[in-house]
């Protein structure tokens, strides 16, 4: 699972949907691999407005990265070198960081989901299925 995807998924248990504790999930015991990807400045710039920045900071911290700026970068101009540096960092974090193994835990119901061989598994056992 790409780091970016953590910004779009919450606990799959229906009764957790309304709780703000079900997003983002808490990531623990994760193994990461950097997987080289094409750099697309335009895509990243447009992607910024979709991102939940506080969730991104939280998950990055779970994964041991505390260097994310506290505020979402604004006025990004892909031509500007400083902006490009920010975009390259985001590219590396969001699109190149693969979580290959690990756990995702819901802070509301404490259910644990697993990531194995890079695939995050959100299937629920029958007693929790919706």
């Amino acid at each position: 699972m790409k780091f970016l995807t953590t910004n779009f998924v919450r606990c799959a248990v229906k009764s957790c949907a309304a709780s703000s504790d079900s997003f983002p999930l808490v990531f623990s015991e994760c193994q990461l691999v950097q997987q080289e990807q094409d750099f697309d400045a335009e895509f990243l710039t447009s992607m910024l407005d979709r991102l939940d920045w506080p969730a991104l900071i939280k998950v990055a911290a779970d994964l041991g990265n505390n260097s994310i700026p506290q505020v979402k970068p604004e006025n990004i101009d892909p031509e500007d070198p400083e902006s490009e540096r920010i975009l390259r960092d985001l590219h590396s974090l969001l699109l190149e960081t693969q979580i290959t193994e690990g756990k995702m835990i819901c802070n509301h119901c404490q259910h644990v989901y697993y990531i194995k061989n890079s695939v995050a598994n959100f299937l629920l056992p029958p007693h929790l299925a919706n």
Binding site: V9, A12, Q37, M47, S118, V119, F122, L123
Partner: protein, 223 residues
């Protein structure tokens, strides 16, 4: 005519092999390519979600040919599909903007984020929807891609019932039906439940063997 994605070394005893239904979706997206690529969604990078992606052929086709600047998230319950769909995508299109997760329909997705939803459901009428196998090696994973309960609507109906929580405003869903699903009646019932909130149109229809397949577009107009 746009190229059909190549599916590298898939084992079709484990994952649904693209067939007339898959190709109907590809043909539809080719037909409406200009409309899709010129449309403005709620976000400048649209989130495209395919439920039950199988071999990943539809997502790879869209990523390669129709909306190369979108963000793709494909889902499947079948563990084999999750691996194969990612491989199909990276073999044919860019992989930085695509990911696969294993889940039931869209259950872990944040609500009202999806701009384009695609679903080629298990639409075949069958006594019941199969249970999810417990073991990856179980030969019955394929049945999940086909059997949809007595009228073939069990799974599709679940998606329709939660469509307003899946789609962003102005978001649209492309859902495939066979004639035995009675899509006209399904759509009529769907619109009755929330009058004025949806625009539903049949986009394409084709006879495939003894089946009549169609794809309907559901556009979410307002809250």
């Amino acid at each position: 005519m746009l190229e059909t994605p190549i599916i590298p070394s898939a084992d079709y005893s484990k994952v649904y092999e693209p067939a007339e239904d898959s190709y109907l979706l590809l043909d539809l997206f080719e037909q409406i390519r200009c409309e899709l690529s010129s449309k403005r969604y709620a976000h400048s990078v649209p989130l495209v979600v395919e439920i039950g992606t199988g071999s990943g052929v539809v997502t790879a086709f869209l990523n390669k040919n129709i909306l190369p600047k979108a963000l793709y998230l494909a889902t499947d319950v079948n563990p084999h599909s999750c691996v194969i769909a990612a491989r199909t995508n990276s073999h044919n299109a860019t992989s930085y903007n695509m990911d696969v997760i294993r889940c039931d329909l869209t259950s872990p997705l944040l609500t009202e984020k999806v701009d384009i939803l695609i679903f080629n459901p298990p639409y075949v009428p069958a006594e019941k929807v199969p249970e999810i196998p417990k073991d990856d090696k179980d030969p019955r994973w394929l049945d999940l891609a086909l059997d949809g309960g007595p009228t073939g609507m069990d799974i599709t109906q679940r998606v329709l019932d939660s469509l307003h929580t899946i789609l962003a405003l102005k978001g649209e869903a492309y859902i495939l039906f066979c004639a035995r699903n009675q899509p006209d009646k399904v759509v009529e019932d769907f619109k009755k439940k929330s009058p004025g909130k949806w625009d539903v149109t049949m986009e394409i229809r084709r006879k495939a063997g003894w089946e009549m397949l169609s794809v309907y577009k559901f556009v979410r107009l307002c809250e």
